[in-house]
Amino acid sequence: MAIVISKEKVRADLTTEVQKISGIDIRSCLQCKKCSNGCPVTGLTKVHPSDIIRGLQLNERDKLFNCDLVWMCASCETCFERCPMKINMAAVMDALRIIAVRNNASRQKGNVALFNKLFLRTVRMFGRTYDIGMIAAYKLGTSSYLQDTDKFPMMLLKGKIALTPSFKADKKYTNRIFARNQDRINS
């Protein structure tokens, strides 16, 4: 079966945007599917890494925004390591997530975007992460109050999680970094 790809489709916006953010030329993909075969979450997802590249080549904007893999990718980079064309698939996934958040695309299970936002918020506040603050805010935001409640007393008792944030960070650079990236981070 012949697949006709029109020039408009190849040059269409989402693909250009992904290429601009990631710096990756997705046209070099051979569809060999080594990325999909090595991906640890392919058994759990409907869309596989090679489908993402194909979708980008065909500019299937809606399909990519709503696909489960974008927020299930664990950034393990097996795809990038094994790609014969050295396509940095992990960077492509980062670009898709950035664009999805910018466009308020559907919130997926687990709300990883919220987790990221809260993680970065503690870094902005303290210069370092603050696990308990972040976990509490995430639970409020996702209404997952009961998940892992059995673990916190045990972790606190063992000293496996810090009760208070660290105030030892020198925020000279982090203050500058967050101030300059304010509009893009939205934390």
């Binding site: 953010i21 640890p40 979450v41 058994g43 759990l44 299930m72 664990a74 950034s75 393990c76 980079e77 097996t78 990038f80 390591e81 940095n88 980062d94 997530r97 950035i98 958040v101 299970k109 687990g110 709300n111 990883v112 975007a113 987790f115 990221n116 936002k117 993680f119 970065l120 870094v123 210069g127 370092r128 992460t129 696990d131 976990i135 995430y138 998940q147 892992d148 673990k151 045990m154 972790m155 063992k158 000293g159 496996k160 999680i161 810090a162 660290s166 030892k168 960070a169 020198d170 925020k171 000279k172 650079y173 982090t174 500058r176 970094i177 300059r180 990236n181 893009r184 981070i185």
Partner: protein, 290 residues
């Protein structure tokens, strides 16, 4: 030997045991780890999920601090190690990114600080011979599954840690300590990493297959070099046992905790009471094997 030491955020919290054991091992081997004063978060996965400049500037700030000390930077956390290496790589290979980061930090950084994992320091700077001479105890044939996870070994072009499909550095340490490093295929499989909180379901699936293979391979424990791998594989065993009807009870320890035991450091000083699955059988075995 002196190094600038970047412990990473988990050292203050979920990986206190890693922090303690690295310090104890360094102390016993006369490795001077000078903790970077005022170090800040590397941004980890949430930063590269969010913005490229952010994901490079956050580690670069710490690299800049390290540059001012004049020493190589030593890292233990695999995620921090990876982000530091990526930042160096991006800054070295793209003048445009270097300029952007300089504008963000208010100071230019050239990407030149050498980033070393503590395991690399032990094997390459100290060496097998010196390590063996320093050991007072042995692992006495303990079967260990050495586990590397993702971020140390991938992408190889950038991290340059070890072979990306079959790394052996942790295995070598196990052998030097008199342990038996088991031959198993899941050394570089992903445990679910940063999904510990947001997608526990994924962590359970991925960690289950790793634990299963370690068990099938006859391992009596797993040795890791990443705080996220440690907490996922250790703390989730109970959940996996319940949801997937398994009976795992496999200690998952930091390689530095095993080294500490062989150097005669007390388990308490190595934070071995903090693991969820008790490493007591290992401690007993090493205690009797001088």
């Amino acid at each position: 030997m002196k190094y600038a030491y970047y412990p990473g955020c988990s050292a203050d919290s979920t990986a206190r045991d890693q922090y303690m054991s690295v310090n104890e091992v360094a102390l016993a081997l006369n490795i001077e780890l000078i903790e970077l004063k005022g170090w800040t978060c590397c941004g980890s996965t949430p930063a590269h999920h969010t913005d490229k400049n952010l994901s490079i500037a956050l580690p670069a700030a710490n690299l800049l601090m390290a540059k001012k000390t004049g020493f190589d930077m030593v890292v233990f956390c695999a995620a921090c190690y990876n982000r530091m290496k990526v930042a160096n790589h991006e800054i070295q290979t793209s003048p445009e990114i270097r300029r952007e980061i300089a504008a963000t930090l208010g100071e230019d950084y050239d990407g030149s600080v050498k980033v070393r994992h503590f395991v690399e320091v032990l094997l390459k700077d100290i060496g097998a011979k010196k390590l063996q001479d320093a050991f007072s105890h042995s692992l006495d044939g303990l079967k260990v599954a050495s586990y590397y996870g993702c971020l140390l070994v991938r992408p190889h072009d950038i991290t340059q840690f070890d072979d990306p499909e079959n790394p052996v550095l942790i295995d070598n340490l196990v052998t030097i300590m008199g342990g038996e490093s088991v031959d198993w295929p899941n050394k570089v499989e992903c445990c679910g990493g940063g999904f510990a909180l947001s997608r526990t379901d994924i962590v359970i699936e991925l960690s289950d297959s790793i634990l299963n293979m370690a068990k099938v391979s006859g391992a009596q424990c797993m040795a890791v070099a990443c705080p996220m791998c440690q907490i996922n594989l250790d703390m989730r065993q109970n959940d996996i046992n319940k949801t997937k009807n398994r009976d795992y009870n496999l200690p998952v320890v930091y390689i530095t905790q095993l080294l500490g035991l062989c150097l005669g450091v007390s388990p308490k000083k190595l934070g071995m009471d903090k693991s969820v699955v008790s490493p007591k059988p290992i401690i007993e075995l090493v205690k009797t094997a001088e």
